[in-house]
Symmetry: none
DNA sequence: GGGCCATTGACACACTTCGTTACACTTCTT
DNA sequence: AAGAAGTGTAACGAAGTGTGTCAATGGCCC
């Protein structure tokens, strides 16, 4: 089970803030609050926030400005609160890149539904920071067992194959996302965090080296398959062996 | 350049449908329309739809029901249209898993902004084009078994025939729609999401290559039949082997 | 059945993407 | 500091895919 999602509620009205925080917390979310954009920026630095609920109309820096900033610097989803049913505001909000908005006065149940909807979408993204469950020490796939602690592959005959750092990272990246087609860009981002250069073939190379170690017949790969024009995919089930 | 996103507009009012289709098409989207949930289901099989704009109130099967079905069988994003500002409808819609909703009467510009917003979120996901039922691991047809996970074709004698990416995509497209006549345009859309060029022969070529692998006598195809002037069709029953 | 046209099948070829090897550069060890 | 292992870059051949062409075939009209 994932930890409870962390929501940041930003509104200059204390009542709304507290009411909302209480309601959301009661429904299984972790909630922080902020009374201004400045406070919000502080809170965002201090904690890993999964979603921001953001009032547009606030004294000082307004919500749209903060939203724009968020969109430029992170992928954190944003739901806007707009006091008036001002169509323009709503459209501008969406065009800026907010994930959703709710017009005041709103039904808390509706806001909760929207939060869950946005979180569901966000969590289906391949997340680079997604760690494996701490308990998971070994992963089984095909005929292999990956010992995560020892960074070692164990074959069916018990023979251990050592993996280099890059090979290990690439393999765990695949094991966390079985059957998902991952582009070279994504793989590069997920394994080393860097963006691709032009004509970057390093992932191809890594895949080639990894295949040489895990494939029965590297000429006809059965575990890591190539998707022409798309990337690579792990064609195997993954078993967690705690 | 990515192909233009493909939108399906579902509404029982012809005027709204046509107006909307025209407006969206003018803004660079490919648009199909359907006048009922039944038509919509048909259209969803016939084309690779990137997003559905769906009226809730329709005679026959209503929008919520279709939305629920969509959410259970695919990840295709849905934007709901609701005639009344009925809060209950909107909330139920979101809880069912719609990605957004718009209340009638609406500003086309707002709908467009929402469509783009939802598409932007959806497109950061690696798009699973070959969305078979989740449980479906293997499909049997004629004398063959397609191992969907391994992207491999297994013959009656147990011999595995490797498929290229395009061949695999083409074959799964047929297997999902047995006995259905698919035009070249549809096949191109369903396999690669792109629209046809003039005198586009790539599908013919792919069919030819696939036949060479699966037909007992490629000169007299028995599995993938040609429908003169219409396209191709899979002339075989498909068995799901979980 | 015969002539005509559009559609289709097959093939060759161009182009893109991918696999592999060799090699240079970096990092870590000794 | 020298060596070893790991990793990225470049290059070349192989495989996959789309395009263009021509011949074969099916439908249509007579």
């Amino acid at each position: 089970m994932d930890p409870a999602p962390h929501i940041l509620v930003v509104d200059d009205h204390r009542e709304i803030r507290d009411l909302l925080a209480k309601y959301l917390a009661k429904n299984g979310l972790r909630v922080d609050t902020a009374g201004s954009s400045a406070e919000a920026r502080q809170a965002l630095k201090a904690a890993a926030v999964d979603l921001v609920v953001l009032d547009i109309m606030m004294p000082g820096e307004d919500g749209l400005s903060l939203c724009r900033h968020l969109r430029e610097t992170s992928d954190t989803p944003v739901i806007l609160l707009t006091a008036m049913a001002e169509e323009t505001d709503r459209i501008v909000g969406l065009e800026i890149g907010a994930d959703d908005y709710v017009t005041k006065p709103f039904n808390p149940r509706e806001l909760l539904a929207r939060i869950k909807s946005v979180l569901r979408r966000a969590s289906s993204l391949p997340r680079p920071r997604d760690q494996l469950e701490p308990a998971t020490r070994r992963l089984g796939f095909d005929r292999w067992t990956l010992d995560v602690d020892r960074r070692e592959l164990v074959g069916p005959d018990g023979v251990a194959v050592p993996l280099s750092t890059a090979e290990f990272r690439l393999l765990t990246t695949f094991l966390k996302r079985p059957r998902m087609v991952l582009s070279r860009d994504q793989l590069l981002d997920l394994t080393s965090g860097r963006a691709a250069e032009v004509y970057d073939r390093s992932i191809d190379n890594q895949v080639s080296r990894l295949r040489r170690k895990i494939e029965a017949d590297p000429k006809a790969p059965a575990i890591i398959k190539t998707v022409w024009g798309g990337g690579y995919t792990l064609a195997a089930d993954v078993r967690e062996l705690p």
